[in-house]
C-alpha cells in the first residue's frame, strides 16, 4: 500500500526524524493562509498523489509569497498526474538547500533482507543514479537478527560520499528510518532528498513509505490511510466485495481462479488479439455468490465488450461456478458475449447446469479456445 508524502513524514517524525514545517490543504485559499502563517516566507506546494516523478510533471512548485503559493495551488489542485487527480497539497516552508543526500531501505527479494542504500546524489530518482553512476550508491543488507550495526552505518556514509562531519547526524536518520521501517511493516522507505541546509542542519525534505499489504492487519493506523477516492472506483468496489481485481486498459473482461491462471488467461486473450479489461481472481473454493459478484464487478466497466471465465476446479467446484454465472446472468441481463471454460472438479455437473440454463453462454473446451471465441464474438460487430 502506498501512503502520501505527508503521511510518510508523520511516521518518520514519530521516530524522531526532523521534517519541514508543513500542513495539508485542499483549496488555494487554505494554501494562501498556511503560507501566511509560515512568516510569509518562501514555501513549497507539493501535490499529494500516489505517483513518482511529481516534480518533473509540474506537481511541485516553489512560491516566494502567499500570493504565489495560492497561484501554485490553483495550478496543482485538480491537475492530473499520471491519471490521478490531485485533491490535496502539502505546503511546507522552503529550505535553503546546500546539498541533497539519498537514504533508502527496501525489501530485497534476492538477499531476502532489507537493503540499505546511501548516496550523496540525492534529490533525483535513485534508479537513474543506479543506472548512470552505480559507484555513487553504497549498499548493505541488514541481518534481521542483528539489526543495523554501527559499522554498517559508517561504511554506508563513507562509501556513499557523505561529508565526514555529518556522519554522526546521518547515522541518527538511518537508525530512525530502520525503526520506522520495521514498526510500520514497510516494504520501502526513502528519505530523498535528505537536505543539508545552508545553516548545516539535516532535514527530510521528501519521504516515501510503502506498506506491506500482507501486514495491514497489524497496522490499523496505517491501514486507515488506504484511500478509495483516488483509486479506481471499480477496484474499490471489488475490494469491498473481497475480490482481487486489477483494472487494465482493454475491453475484454477476464475472470478466473488463482493468480497464475488468471495472469495466463490475460496473456492468452492478448495473444489471440484481444485487449484484457481487467485481472480478476475469485480465489480458491469460491461459492456461487463470489462468482456472481465477480461477473457484476467486471461488467461495471462500461466499455467491456465481452467476458471470458476460465476456471480450473481444484478446491473450487465447477458446479458452484456455473450456478454463480447463471445467477449473475439472470439478474444482470448481460448484453455482451460470455465464454465459459470449465475444467476439473465437478466439471460435468457444471457444464450441464450451464447448458440447461437456456442462457446465451458460450462453452469452450480449452483456455486457448475460450480466448479465441471471446475475441471473435467481442469484436464481431
Amino acid at each position: 500500500m502506498k501512503i502520501h508524502e505527508y503521511q510518510a513524514k508523520q511516521v518518520l517524525a514519530k521516530f524522531g526524524v526532523p521534517v519541514p514545517e508543513g500542513r495539508v490543504a485542499t483549496s488555494p485559499d487554505q494554501v494562501k493562509s498556511i503560507a501566511e502563517e509560515f512568516r510569509n516566507g518562501p514555501v513549497v506546494v507539493k501535490a499529494q498523489v500516489h505517483v513518482g516523478g511529481r516534480g518533473k510533471a509540474g506537481g511541485i512548485k516553489l512560491a516566494k509569497s502567499p500570493a504565489e503559493a495560492e497561484e501554485a495551488a490553483k495550478q496543482i489542485l485538480g491537475m492530473s498526474l499520471k491519471g490521478l487527480v490531485v485533491r490535496k497539497v502539502l505546503v511546507e516552508s522552503g529550505l535553503a538547500i546546500d546539498r541533497e543526500y539519498y537514504l533508502g531501505m527496501i525489501l530485497d527479494r534476492d538477499s531476502k533482507r532489507i537493503v540499505v542504500m546511501v548516496s550523496s546524489e540525492g534529490g533525483v530518482d535513485i534508479e537513474e543514479v543506479a543506472a548512470v553512476s552505480p559507484e555513487k550508491i553504497a549498499k548493505i543488507t541488514i541481518n534481521p537478527t542483528l539489526g543495523l550495526a554501527d559499522y554498517q552505518i559508517r561504511y554506508l556514509c563513507f562509501a556513499g560520499g557523505i561529508d565526514k562531519s555529518l556522519v554522526k547526524e546521518v547515522a541518527k536518520f538511518l537508525k530512525a528510518l530502520y525503526r520506522a521501517f520495521l514498526e510500520s511493516d514497510a516494504s520501502l522507505a526513502e528519505i530523498n532528498p535528505l537536505v543539508v541546509t545552508k545553516e548545516g542542519r539535516l532535514i527530510a525534505a521528501d519521504a516515501k513509505i510503502n506498506i506491506d499489504d500482507n501486514a495491514l492487519f497489524r497496522q490499523p493506523d496505517l491501514a486507515a490511510w488506504q484511500e478509495s477516492e483516488e483509486d479506481n472506483p471499480i477496484e474499490e468496489e471489488a475490494r469491498k466485495r473481497g475480490l482481487t481485481y486489477v483494472s487494465l486498459d482493454g475491453d475484454i473482461g477476464i475472470i478466473g481462479n488463482g493468480a497464475g491462471l488468471v495472469m495466463t488467461s490475460l496473456d492468452v486473450v492478448a495473444r489471440e488479439g484481444g485487449k484484457p479489461a481487467n485481472f480478476l481472481d475469485i480465489g480458491g473454493g469460491a461459492k456461487a455468490e463470489v462468482v456472481r459478484n465477480a461477473l457484476e464487478v467486471v461488467l461495471l466497466k462500461p466499455d467491456v465488450k465481452g467476458v471470458v471465465i476460465n476456471i480450473f476446479g481444484g478446491i473450487t467446484r465447477c458446479d458452484e461456478v456455473a450456478k454463480g454465472i447463471i445467477e449473475a446472468a439472470r439478474t444482470l441481463q448481460v448484453e455482451v458475449p460470455v465464454v465459459v471454460r470449465l475444467e476439473g472438479t465437478s466439471v460435468e455437473e457444471g457444464k450441464r447446469i450451464l447448458a440447461e440454463s437456456g442462457l446465451n453462454l458460450v462453452p469452450a473446451a480449452t483456455m486457448r479456445e475460450a480466448a479465441r471465441r471471446i475475441v471473435e464474438l467481442s469484436y464481431a460487430a
Partner: protein, 294 residues
C-alpha cells in the same frame, strides 16, 4: 524416486483442527499420504481424522517420528509455526498459508538458512509425488506418475499444465508449487537442482511469472549445470508495470521482473519457452521424443 516427498514421508499437520487444515488433511489421507499426527496448541491428547493431536511440534515429532510438516496456520501466526517446525528440526516444512507479512519471512529465512530443513512456500499449493504422497492442497486425481518434474509459482496454473500432461500420458515424478510471495523458502534453483539429481525425472517444466529474478537465476544454473531438458513458461506477459497481479510477488517494478526479461534469460539458456499452456505439452513431447497425441 522423486524429490522432497515420497511414500516414506511421515507428515504432521500444523493447524489440523482448523477448517482448512482439516479439509485438506482428509484429502491428503485419502490420497494415501501418511499423516502421522497433528499440532494444535491446547488440543493435545485429542484425535483428529485418526491422527493423534499434540500441543507442540517437538512433542509431535518425538512421538511420531514425523519427517515433514504442513502448515495451515493463519497469517499472523504462520511465521511462528514455521520457526517452531525449524526448531524441532523437521526436514521438510510446507507452508500453505497465504498473506504472511514479508518482514516475518525475512526473519524466518535468516533462521532457515542456518538449518538443514527445507521450507516450501509460503502461499503455495505444496508438493505432490503422484501415487506416493500429497503434501499440499492440489486435486490429487489430475496427477499421474511419470518422468516429468514440474516447478511453479502458481497453483491452478500448475493444475492446468499437469492435467494436460496426464491426459497426454506424460506423468510426473514430483510437482512442486514454490509459492507466489516475494520471499519463499524454496526457489526455482533449489527445485531444479533436486530434479537434476533425481533419476526418476527426465524433463522439467518451469512455470514462472513476473516479479523478482528467480527465473533468471534458474536460467543461469540451467545453462551451466542442468543435464536434463527444461521447458519454460512465463505468465504475466500482458501485466503493466506497478500493478500487483494477485500474488504478492507478481509485480513488475520499474523495468525489473518483466516477463520479457525472463523469457529471454530462459531462451538464452537453451530453454524453449511456450506461449500458451498447451504448447508446454507439445514441447515436452518433442523433447522426450514421444509420439504426439493423435
Amino acid at each position: 524416486m522423486s524429490i522432497f516427498a515420497d511414500s516414506n514421508t511421515r507428515l504432521l499437520v500444523q493447524g489440523i483442527t482448523g477448517r482448512e487444515g482439516n479439509f485438506h488433511t482428509r484429502a491428503m489421507i485419502d490420497y494415501g499420504t501418511h499423516v502421522v499426527g497433528g499440532v494444535t496448541p491446547g488440543k493435545g491428547g485429542q484425535t483428529e481424522l485418526g491422527a493423534p493431536v499434540f500441543d507442540t511440534v517437538r512433542e509431535a515429532r518425538a512421538a511420531t517420528g514425523a519427517n515433514a510438516t504442513i502448515i495451515f496456520v493463519p497469517p499472523p501466526f504462520a511465521a511462528d509455526a514455521i520457526l517452531e517446525a525449524l526448531d524441532a528440526e523437521i526436514p521438510l516444512i510446507v507452508a500453505i498459508t497465504e498473506g504472511v507479512p514479508t518482514l516475518d519471512m525475512v526473519r524466518v529465512f535468516e533462521v532457515l538458512k542456518q538449518t538443514r530443513s527445507r521450507l516450501v512456500g509460503p502461499n503455495c499449493p505444496g508438493i505432490i509425488t503422484p501415487g506416493q504422497a500429497k503434501v499440499g492442497i492440489m486435486p490429487g486425481h489430475i496427477f499421474k506418475p511419470g518422468p516429468v518434474g514440474m516447478v511453479s509459482r502458481s497453483g491452478t496454473l500448475t493444475y492446468e499444465i499437469a492435467k494436460d500432461f496426464s491426459d497426454r500420458g506424460l506423468g510426473q515424478s514430483t510437482v512442486v508449487g514454490i509459492g507466489g510471495d516475494p520471499i519463499i523458502g524454496t526457489s526455482f534453483l533449489d527445485a531444479l537442482k533436486a530434479f537434476n539429481a533425481d533419476p526418476a525425472t527426465e524433463l522439467v517444466v518451469l512455470a514462472g511469472e513476473i516479479g523478482g529474478s528467480d527465473e533468471e537465476t534458474a536460467a543461469e544454473y540451467i545453462k551451466a549445470s542442468m543435464t536434463k531438458p527444461v521447458i519454460g513458461f512465463i505468465s504475466g506477459r500482458t501485466a503493466p508495470p506497478g500493478k500487483r497481479m494477485g500474488h504478492a510477488g507478481a509485480i513488475v517494478s520499474g523495468n525489473k521482473g518483466t516477463a520479457k526479461a525472463k523469457v529471454e534469460a530462459l531462451e538464452a539458456a537453451g530453454v524453449p519457452v511456450a506461449n500458451t499452456t498447451d504448447e508446454i505439452g507439445d514441447l515436452a513431447e518433442k523433447k522426450l521424443k514421444r509420439p504426439a497425441k493423435v
